[in-house]
């Protein structure tokens, strides 16, 4: 009885702490089908339990997210009160003026200092036409999906290895662990996903895509000696320690090979961690560790930011915008972020490690934090999807041997330069090899 009373009082107190909007609203959210969906659904259910608001989710495969978002925000009346996309995909919506600045919904709203912005991806600077934490606050992160290095802890223990610091270390470890039944390393090099995985290689070799994107200088710099070394490393890891024909391996195949014990290493999104360590979906559950992605000797580490951002469109009613912001604000609180991780989500705060304890659900947090702190976006501009499609093909052709690495990078540079100059950017001549 006492327990019941305490629980009721606690519930009332919780409900009072969560200051919801005046009247109950139904919020419609467009969200993608992903490995972290279960965590998001659990958060939605938790929010509905704690408030009078209800949430309707439209769960859509990644391939259809962009079209659905465009259709909703471009009409007079939006279908969704919250749209969620990977940050790079969000650029065109930030730049296109479809989203309501969050401080116009609530002038007091600001992101907590412990919320990760992953290179300022929550704001947009309309002068430089790029992401900026100092620009208009247009979105909040909802999934910190950075890349991490996965490795088999059991194989490492048997062989007496330590997680690699450099790409050379990774190559050595991958070759040491490769045998007839195990690939040393799985590259994700299919045409639609290679750019994302190449990003950490490029940055951690000291290369870059653009001269100074945060300053608004998008002069193309991909074809550089550092870029060449990065691409050669990418190809070598696949050819010397990976499966045949890596040019067809996408995220699904990568996770499949890791979860079936056929691979010793892979670089993939941290959202794959719950899947790889779930005994119902992985025969190596409990044997997959995470680490910081290697860097070239003497260079800084880097991870590719693949995080997701949620935003509120202009074309929904003020009441819906208020309710949507209430949900997002609740979502970002430390307490709810801990619940999110326990439910299979990837957090967007950097102050959770102290609350993790020995809970195995939180085991990826140290590697997550390390990679999140060095994560960078590859295409932080509205033309990102067009450039991504164009250069992904060349990178993929380099992996399958149709182009040399030098040809692939020079063609990428030419195509990036052409796309951007046609879009009206003023650029210096692209660097070439």
């Amino acid at each position: 009885m006492k327990q019941t009373k305490t629980f009721l009082l606690g519930s009332v107190a919780s409900a009072m702490l969560v200051a919801g909007p005046a009247s109950a609203e139904e919020i419609r959210i467009l969200i993608n089908q992903s490995p972290w969906l279960n965590g998001f659904v659990a958060m939605v259910e938790e929010y509905e339990d704690q408030t009078d608001n209800t949430i309707e989710l439209d769960v859509t495969p990644f391939g259809g997210m962009l079209e659905k978002t465009r259709n909703s925000v471009r009409g007079d009346d939006g279908r969704y009160d919250i749209v969620a996309l990977n940050a790079a995909g969000m650029a065109e919506f930030y730049a296109g003026g479809f989203l309501k600045p969050l401080t116009e919904i609530d002038a007091e709203f600001a992101l907590d200092e412990n919320v990760l912005t992953f290179g300022g991806s929550t704001g947009w600077n309309f002068d430089t036409n790029g992401f900026s934490a100092d620009g208009d606050l247009l979105g909040v992160p909802i999934n910190g999906n950075v890349q991490v290095l996965y490795y088999r802890t059991d194989l490492y223990d048997e062989a007496g290895l330590t997680p690699p610091e450099t790409w050379d270390d990774l190559m050595a470890n991958a070759k040491a662990l490769a045998d007839d039944n195990t690939y040393g390393f799985i590259p994700r090099a299919s045409r639609d996903s290679i750019l994302y995985n190449f990003t950490s290689y490029l940055f951690s070799h000291g290369g870059s895509f653009f001269a100074d994107p945060s300053g608004g200088d998008y002069s193309v710099t991909i074809a550089s000696p550092e870029g060449l070394k990065a691409l050669e490393t990418y190809i070598a890891l696949g050819n010397e320690a990976g499966p045949p024909n890596p040019g067809a391996i996408a995220q699904a195949e990568l996770i499949q090979l890791m979860s079936t014990g056929r691979a010793a290493h892979a670089i993939a999104v941290v959202a794959a961690y719950p899947v790889l360590n779930d005994p119902n979906s992985s025969i190596v559950a409990g044997k997959v560790g995470t680490a910081l992605i290697p860097a070239a000797e003497g260079e800084e580490h880097a991870s590719a930011a693949g995080h997701w951002v949620a935003a509120i469109p202009k074309n929904v009613t003020g009441e819906k915008q208020d309710a949507a912001l209430d949900f997002l604000n609740w979502f970002l609180s430390k307490k709810q972020q801990l619940f999110y991780v326990q439910s299979g989500g990837i957090p967007v705060r950097k102050d959770l490690s102290d609350s993790a304890g020995d809970n195995p659900s939180f085991a990826f947090l140290p590697a997550f934090s390390e990679n999140a702190s060095v994560s960078r976006m590859n295409m932080p501009l509205p033309q990102g999807s067009q450039i991504s499609d164009a250069i992904s093909l060349f990178l993929n052709q380099a992996v399958i041997g149709e182009l040399t690495p030098t040809e692939a990078l020079n063609k990428s540079a030419d195509e990036m330069h052409r796309i951007l100059t046609e879009a009206g950017y003023t650029l210096a001549e692209p660097s070439k090899l």
Binding site: R74, G96, G97, N245, A248, T260, N396, V399
Partner: protein, 304 residues
């Protein structure tokens, strides 16, 4: 002799009966084509939540011919795809129809049901199923090949054979369509001709060569034309199996259009691609129609 009022009533009836279909045709076919033409000559930008369209003449077509190399790789692959897939489907579909026609009773019903199974399956199921079957490391096909010491073969990951693998799936998917039309055609042939031909032909092969195939020519040509045009619409199999890769080895026209129009949001260039493809397929339809008519009239001349 019809009076003036009867003629007027007939004219009104003709107009009235055609009007709904005409309006639908205008709304669903002709307007979108004009819209496509307009978009292909425009540059569309979104500024402050509103679309801004600017007339730019043939710049999108210039872009298409000079820079869209992936689209042209798709054109080449689509032509190879159409020729190989449709040829195989015609041969297998016709053979299966002959087999089903010669069978009787339960065997025939079972054969027809089995042959038709692929065509009733949703494309998403077909894609997922064949992706699992053809997988290099875990695919059932490679497991079976492994028992006889072959492979593993990377059907979808090897750029040299990826297109052939997609063609194989398309043949499996669409041969039942050919089978169905051929079986209907065979069923509708006049049996008296076959009875009469028994005196002249000495073997089933001769019956096929000199009686069945000549009588089936109109059905074969129509089926061939339909499949040829439909094969240019291939999209789902490529999307689900290979995503156009590795490289451009399985890129097809519709996949390029989809990516340009939807993923990249380049409405102008995407419309130019669509328009060019539309014109090419329309020309193909006209050519195939003319060919069918010519062959029909030749066939009628021969029989008269």
């Amino acid at each position: 002799m019809a009076t003036n009022s009867t003629r007027r009533r007939n004219a009104l009836w003709r107009i009235g009966s055609l009007l709904p279909a005409s309006l639908l045709l205008v709304a669903l076919s002709i307007y979108p084509v004009f819209n496509l033409v307009g978009l292909s000559l425009s540059d569309v930008e979104w500024i402050d939540g509103r679309a801004h369209s600017e007339f730019i003449g043939f710049a999108n077509f210039d872009q298409l011919f000079r820079h869209e190399t992936v689209y042209w790789a798709g054109v080449r692959n689509t032509i190879i795809f159409a020729i190989c897939a449709v040829t195989a489907q015609m041969i297998f579909g016709f053979s299966m129809a002959l087999a089903a026609r010669r069978a009787s009773g339960v065997t025939r019903a079972v054969l027809t049901a089995v042959f038709l199974l692929p065509i009733v399956m949703p494309p998403i199921v077909i894609g997922a199923m064949w992706r699992l079957l053809l997988g290099r490391d875990f695919g059932a096909v490679n497991t079976l090949l492994g028992y006889v010491g072959i492979g593993p073969i990377d059907f979808l990951g090897n750029p040299d054979i990826a297109l052939a693998s997609v063609i194989l799936v398309d043949i499996w998917h669409w041969t039942p369509f050919v089978f169905l039309l051929m079986l209907t055609g065979l069923e509708s042939l006049d049996q008296e001709v076959f009875e009469a031909a028994k005196f002249d032909v000495r073997s089933p092969w001769q019956e096929l060569r000199y009686v069945t195939i000549p009588l089936m020519v109109p059905t074969i040509l129509i089926t061939l034309g339909l499949r040829l045009v439909l094969s240019f619409k291939v999209f789902d199999e490529v999307y689900l199996l290979t995503g156009g890769g590795p490289g451009t080895s399985t890129e097809v026209i519709n996949f390029s259009i989809y990516r340009t129009f939807f993923a990249q949001d380049r409405l102008g260039v995407g419309s130019a691609m669509s328009l060019l493809t539309l014109v090419a397929v329309a020309v193909l339809i006209v050519v195939v129609n003319l060919w069918i008519r010519k062959r029909r009239s030749k066939s009628q001349e021969a029989t008269s």
